[in-house]
């Protein structure tokens, strides 16, 4: 733990304003002229040093790290999502949903369950939905298009590691699934780390996706990425955070209410769940919509729940700002969570007195 703390400390020491450094640089005793000359020399040296330091930070994707603490409960930015129309005429009722977790089906499926028996009563798959192996996270957008990422389940037979850094889109009206992006990775997925995409979150404000990936990560080195993916005019990566293994991800606004469906928030950012620990991190997004600095710890589910070592695979921000964290066992392998402990959810509520999210309960 001390190592972790040290790293975070070094991170917070980085965003030094050049003016602050110059003002704070102590001058030694001496004549006014010599003081001035040495001051100029020192300033030049420091500016050079800062330029070198900033260049080094840029190369690792770090720009600056303002202290980012929440001022209010969070608001979700995905409420504009619409259901697709490809369900129509397929015999589904109001209980239809999409699932990537059906044990007997490959890929993604539209499913409906009998409310009495809780058994699946009806399912449908477009022929293209089972061609690319198993999928994991998916999200809708404001047009009803579905975005989905692959991830292996039990084995790699249907999910070759080389084909995991993919983003697919299902057309809202036709149901046709197509590859729309091969996203960048530090190193390709492999037998030692068969995962790439982990979490997806749609941002109504910018009509873009946030994607977390762990591709290329190693036991002692996080090499995953957080990617901002614009959806129009072309699907492409427009911003990224490197060297972080994220799982569940959610974009939020905070600080003010939504106005006519568009947030006028004073704060915006990402919640990024760690794929390695039970922690959820807070990542600032600037007014320009780009990532600012590095994420900071926000809350953790470590030690909570039936097993005490879940990771957060999905983050839901409720209407009142409460957080529902969907837990799962995850250890960078293909072991499946036991049915007995699958699907644990962790509820956190905003405490305005402490300005922090507090754990409320876990549910199964």
């Amino acid at each position: 733990m001390s190592k972790k703390k040290n790293r975070q400390n070094s991170g917070t020491a980085k965003p030094v304003n050049p003016e602050t450094v110059l003002a704070a640089a102590p001058l030694q005793a001496g004549s006014k002229r010599s003081k001035a000359l040495w001051g100029i020399a020192l300033a030049l040296v420091l500016l050079a040093a800062l330029a070198a330091g900033m260049a080094a930070w840029q190369s690792t994707g770090v720009k600056s790290a303002p202290v980012f603490s929440l001022e209010s409960a969070l608001s979700a930015r995905n409420s504009c999502r619409r259901p697709p129309t490809f369900f129509n005429g397929k015999g589904f009722g109001r209980g239809v949903s999409l699932s990537t977790a059906e044990r007997d089906l490959i890929g993604i499926a539209a499913v409906e369950f009998d409310p009495k028996t809780k058994q699946r009563s009806h399912y449908w798959q477009h022929p293209s939905w089972s061609k690319f192996g198993q999928f994991s996270a998916f999200t809708l957008d404001r047009q009803g298009d579905v975005y989905v990422i692959p991830a292996p389940r039990v084995n790699l037979a249907d999910n070759p590691p080389a084909l995991q850094n993919r983003l697919y889109r299902i057309d809202a009206s036709t149901g046709e699934l197509q590859l729309v992006l091969k996203f960048p990775v530090a190193a390709p997925a492999s037998a030692r780390n068969p995962y790439a995409g982990m979490g997806l979150s749609y941002d109504c404000n910018t009509h873009s996706l946030w994607l977390s990936s762990v591709a290329g990560s190693e036991p002692a080195r996080e090499r995953g990425k957080i990617l901002k993916i614009q959806l129009e005019p072309t699907v492409s990566v427009v911003d990224q955070l490197d060297d972080i293994d994220g799982f569940g991800i959610a974009v939020f606004s905070a600080g003010s209410q939504l106005q006519a469906g568009v947030s006028a928030a004073s704060q915006q950012g990402l919640l990024i769940a760690s794929a390695r620990q039970g922690s959820v991190l807070l990542q600032a997004i600037g007014e320009d919509g780009r990532l600012q600095g590095r994420p900071v710890a926000m809350l953790s589910i470590a030690g909570i729940g039936p097993l005490g070592n879940d990771r957060v695979r999905k983050i839901d921000i409720g209407r009142s700002g409460e957080l529902l964290l969907h837990g799962t066992s995850f250890n960078f392998n293909l072991a499946q969570p036991s049915a007995q402990h699958a699907g644990v959810k962790y509820r956190f509520a905003w405490d305005s007195a402490t300005r922090r999210y507090q754990f409320v309960e876990w549910l199964q």
Partner: protein, 614 residues
Amino acid sequence: MPHFPSKLAVAVTLLALLIGCKPEASTHDAAQTGSNVFKQTLVGASPDGKSVLAYRALLQASQARGEFALALENLSVSAAKAQAIALGHEVLRQRVPVGADGIPARLEVLSVDRLRESDFSDPNSPNRSCKNSECQRVDLYDFSSSRMLSAVVNLQTETVLSWRALAGQQPEIPERLTRLAIEMAQSSPEVLEALGGSAPESFEVLMANTKTSLNGTRCERSQHLCVAPTFVQGNIAIWAIVDLTDLKLVGVQWTEHGQIGALSDSMAAVPSEQSLSDAVIMERYCERNTELAKLGWRLDYMLTASDGLQISGVQFNGRPLLTSVKLVDWHVNYSEREGFGYADAVGCPSFSSAAVIPFQAPQIADLIEAGLVVGFRLQQEFRSVGWPGPCNYSYLQSYDFYQDGRFRPSAASIGAGCGNDGTYRPLLRIEPAGAGWALQEYSPIKTPSSDIGFNAVSHERWFAANGAVDAAGARFTLEQSQAGQVLQGFQIVPGRGQFENSRGDFEYVYATASAAAGEGADELPTLGSCCNTDYRQGPEQFINQPAESLAKGLVIWYVPQMKNELTAGREYCWAYPVLENGVLKPKRYPCEAGPMFVPMPVQLAASAAPSKMP
């Protein structure tokens, strides 16, 4: 210019510091052993120490008195009364399961406390009568189901008002269990080793028991009640994980934190059963080979990402014998459900493509026949977290080495699959070392392509399941020659029911030319379909058309087939939990398969020369 040197030094230092401030690649710690400051060890099976023996005696005495739970002593009068009412309650007596050994589930009273007002403030609470009379809450722990039972007792009416069961809670443990945990840890050789081999001068217990908290420890896999006594001596901090259900030490983690003051940071890193186990296995067995030399054998072994426990560089009495042997996959299919099954890889617990993983380090045990050590077994067990529950699996991978030169790689399933129609097919890959190997197949009859006896196999091919064996039980012979001189030879004897835990191997065998890229010399993530019931188990993909010659080296693929059975008294490839001595234990019915390689005298090997090309 009196200040020049110092100012230049300041400037250069600042420059160096600023450049040196380039951020670390990661914002948070990888928490893996390769880079952490902790040392860890797992504790294998060991005999009970004095404190455990004494505690077991306490439990047995309680059972002998016919008590349903081990009661607390030295309680106040009212607490003792509440405890007696709760333990005498009919609901408790009716619901405590009794094992086939006649011993009921192990229950212990953890605490007896006066009921808090918040416990009965709800007007609909069954405990609302406690508003006007004294009530006590009696907390018990059921070690057989890993849950806490809470009774609310009204002392005035001498009745139990309610019972509540809580699973997934880490209860506060009483002083006697705290003391036991500390004594178990204190007296363990592993803790002594962590202290540099010297007996501790004094132990300060920082954390004898843990509750549900960020620092709480868990036994996530066994689901047992565990606590983590922590000791500090000088600059060494030690965490021990004690399993209070099985009354054993799970493992130990320690660090030389340097100063007591630094301990507060590392205290947050209390290990759990899983974190400790994974850290030890990853560091010692997944990232490097371990050399083993015993009884004339020399080999390296390590866990792979998806091919199980691999042995390599195998020699016997100095002669190279095997390049490597590994377990590529397990295919499990269910015959009554078309196409239903799994292809499970086994391998490292983290950063792997294994679906079934090790919870313990590889084990080495003597093989004993007629009271004498005749060899040794290197074995790795892989498990699903929910085993032996339905659709969760446990696999054993073993290598037996005998001092007479025999060896046997084998694979066993211990269930517990998704039904009684499961067939297990492990894929063993065996690569002999070097060139000059010749494989011969036994034929009991004369055919257009073979004579009676052993016939040379010169090119890649597969062999049908359950082929004929000779009088010695051999289906194949394998011999290595150099310049016309036979160096070594083996009979390959498949299981036909003669080995322990086996009803026969019913094996498919494949011979392929060795060392082609992507054919298994490196990791093979997933090979073949789970659910083919014929020879198409995966290795047939490596048989080229036209078939390659085996003259430059060969690989033998051995794919046995084990059908499970659940019939009482005939269980096979199966496991289920049973209540034994008060706690749940898996009752294991392994099915094991694998070929025995029996050395042939060199002259015999020479006489088994090929009689006809296939």
